[in-house]
Amino acid sequence: MTECHYLLKAKRNRLNKLINKSGLNSLNLYLFDEQTPGPTNVPAFFKSECPPDGKVKLDDLFQFKRKRGDFLFSLIILFVALFFLISFFTETGWQSRKLPNEFGTYILHQFGLAEVDGKLVRFGRILKQSWVGPLLCLMVLIPAAIWNVRTSFQVHRYRKRFLLPTGIRYELEKYVAAIEYVAYFILYTVLVPTLGYLISTLFLGIFLTWRLGYRSGRWILIGLSSSLVIVFVFRSFLQIKTPINIWLYDLLPSAVRGFMLTYF
């Protein structure tokens, strides 16, 4: 009895050591699956695993698991789709539509389900009207958006029932984190016409390298030279016209000025 008890204790200790060594605890074991981005879109984090029996199913290649935040985003998308549905009546030329009299009977006639008296309007005349395209599009969009919300809600309910995490704070934090980089991009866009493409790009290249934590001299130099190469390739090799910093170039000696104007 004592020996058995001792063995069990040793086994438990070994397991605890393993868990501590791998840096996992009960909380992040639980959330581990949630926090890693999915396989298909972010290959950088994807570790592949063949099914143990080696039999690959087509579904294995399209594995998809709805994440937390999916339900909220699906709802937002549905509202956007409904907004476009409402806008359809004012933003597509629907008000100036030209439809035959008794349109319902006319459509039934197209499927051979009704007879129409008198001269028939060509179906092509309806197809040419500006609201037909948006209508076709909304015929796909609205049912798909509703269907998607329904499926997403089912998964959400399933998660709740089995006490799986449903909070979206982690996802929202990621969305907010991305806004920082969106702001840098917009700032860069605003700076380019003022500072010129070369200076702005060098500035952004170095700043982002520093901001991302690569702060050694070597990395800053890599960031600087990569930005310089990008400017050179697009300005000189692909001959793309971008704003230049003319007041800075004017301060340079004439030979250097000419070189800078041509290549940077």
């Binding site: 592949s48 080696g54 985003f73 030329g93 395209g133 860069y188």
Partner: protein, 497 residues
């Protein structure tokens, strides 16, 4: 033969040859870096193609497209991380071989299988052009506006049906792509659609702005907000040519995998994943050692690499023959065609047959060049795996800006691109597929354009499908819809049971 020689002559231009070299080596490097796929590279390069010759542009993009999957096999085999999503199956057997200490063998097998797959589909396309060229010229008469409209509808249905587990999301995003195509002033009646009196939206949203936002900027945000991966050290030895010797021992697997790749590439919306699945499953069924699959089987590796590399050349066929792109990369190439004033479609066989030969010969050259580069410099290319992801994200962001800005020097374009980038970022975070959005945009434009152009010949609804080709295509659409509904009911029943 005359068109073939003319096509060959077109490629002898130094600028075209230079584009082949840059595209191939660039694509190889991009494929080898996990996190940066060919879609991002092509999206960033698209605006630059406006300033280049038509053939130079297309050859450059084809270089990236055709060579990225070769590069993608390197991290898949060495560190179990596919360089491009289509190399996922390669990891099953490739990485298992690396763990057994056979990394060089796996790499050489992957190179030789990829080379065979690529060349097989190109040669098949060239033979078809030679054999059926005179008849293909008459194809133009068979395909009217309504037939191409139906082909675009078929492409859309196939695209949605191919997203097996995410069909609802694929339809939703396809609808949104279609909606974006609608935005702007209708040219014939001067009626604004979904512009909300915003002046920027009157000419419609620029396709390249949307593509760069959705593919490149979104991935930049993903990389910037993510963590750097820490891939294990991997050593690569010599003996890269031995793969061809081993490949010759698995003739049947190699040939049918290449055949599957070619066939699936031709069908719009299906692509590399399904081709790989069929070839991998068939290889397993035919193998004498099926239990080795997933544990370092050379046949498994051959099946997946041959099939995925056979797709690019084949995927050009629906694009060139019908003007209907089957996947995101060929959809992006449509932009170059539009820009060059070449309308892909049946008429291309009549008017630009030398151009067709140029493209396929260029693809052949790309495969030869990529193989030679890999044989000489795998060790160097393998080092690209270790470039930190977040640093790459900053470079993609800088490149995206110049890509968008160069279209028409508009800062508003950049703002719209970053909005699409942010939406793409959320979609990527949720694992929603991005391809239906872009294909909805491209196929939606085609559907709208062909519907308006063919409307004058449509007296009643039946006239849309009363031509031989359009009737066959419409029946195919109905059959696919029936199959999808049937499989949904079947799945539901099995789930309930």
């Amino acid at each position: 033969m005359e068109a073939f020689l003319l096509g060959l002559q077109n490629l002898m231009e130094p600028s075209v040859l230079f584009a082949i070299v840059i595209g191939s080596i660039g694509g190889l490097a991009i494929g080898a870096i996990p996190g940066i796929g060919p879609a991002i590279a092509i999206a960033i390069l698209l605006p630059a193609t406006i300033f280049l010759d038509d053939l130079v542009s297309l050859v450059l993009l084809l270089g990236v497209y055709g060579s990225s999957m070769y590069g993608g096999a390197i991290p898949a085999i060495l560190i179990n991380t596919p360089g491009t999503p289509v190399n996922a199956l390669t990891t099953y057997d490739g990485y298992a071989m690396t763990r057994r200490g056979e990394a060089s063998r796996a790499l050489s097998l992957a190179y030789s299988a990829s080379f065979f797959g690529g060349c097989f589909s190109i040669i098949a396309a060239l033979v078809a052009l030679f054999a059926f060229g005179p008849y293909l010229r008459d194809l133009g008469a068979l395909f009217g506006q309504r037939d191409i409209l139906m082909a675009a509808v078929l492409g859309s249905v196939l695209l949605i049906a191919a997203h097996r587990q995410t069909m609802g999301i694929a339809a939703l995003l396809f609808g949104f792509g279609f909606l974006i195509a609608m935005v702007g002033r209708q040219t014939t009646r001067k009626i604004d659609r979904f512009t909300f009196d915003i002046e920027y939206l009157f000419p419609g949203l620029n396709l390249i702005v949307v593509i760069i936002g959705i593919f490149a900027l979104s991935q930049a945000l993903i990389l910037l907000t993510g963590k750097d991966s820490d891939p294990p050290e991997a050593r690569v030895g010599g003996g890269a040519l031995l793969g061809f010797v081993e490949l010759s021992k698995h003739k049947i697997v190699t040939v049918f995998s290449a055949f599957y790749g070619t066939l699936m590439g031709i069908i719009p919306g299906v692509g590399e994943f399904v081709a790989q699945f069929f070839s991998y499953s068939t290889a397993r069924a035919l193998s004498k050692n099926p239990t080795r699959f997933g544990h370092g089987s050379p046949e498994g590796l051959i099946a997946s690499e041959t099939a995925n590399n056979a797709v690019p050349a084949a995927a050009m066929i629906p694009l060139l023959a019908l003007g209907v792109p089957g996947e995101a990369l060929t959809a992006m190439m449509m932009v170059v065609f539009f820009d060059a004033g070449i309308k892909p479609g049946p008429d291309i066989f009549e008017n630009n047959s030398d151009f067709l030969f140029s493209l396929f010969i260029a693809l052949l050259l790309i495969n030869v060049l990529v193989l030679s580069t890999l044989l000489l410099s795998t060790r160097f290319i393998a080092k690209m795996i270790y470039i930190p992801n977040r640093f790459l994200g900053s470079l993609v962001m800088i490149l995206s800006f110049v890509g968008v800005f160069s279209i028409r020097n508009s800062l508003t374009d950049c703002i719209f691109a970053v909005i699409f980038g942010y939406v793409g970022f959320i979609l990527r975070r949720l694992d929603w597929p991005l391809v239906p959005l872009v294909l909805g945009l491209v196929l939606g434009s085609i559907i709208l354009e062909r519907m308006t152009a063919g409307a004058s010949q449509v007296k009643s609804l039946v006239d849309l499908v009363n031509r031989p080709v359009s009737a066959v295509l419409a029946i195919s659409v109905l059959l696919i819809l029936c199959f999808v509904i049937w499989s949904m009911i079947k799945n539901r029943r099995s789930y309930k049971n």
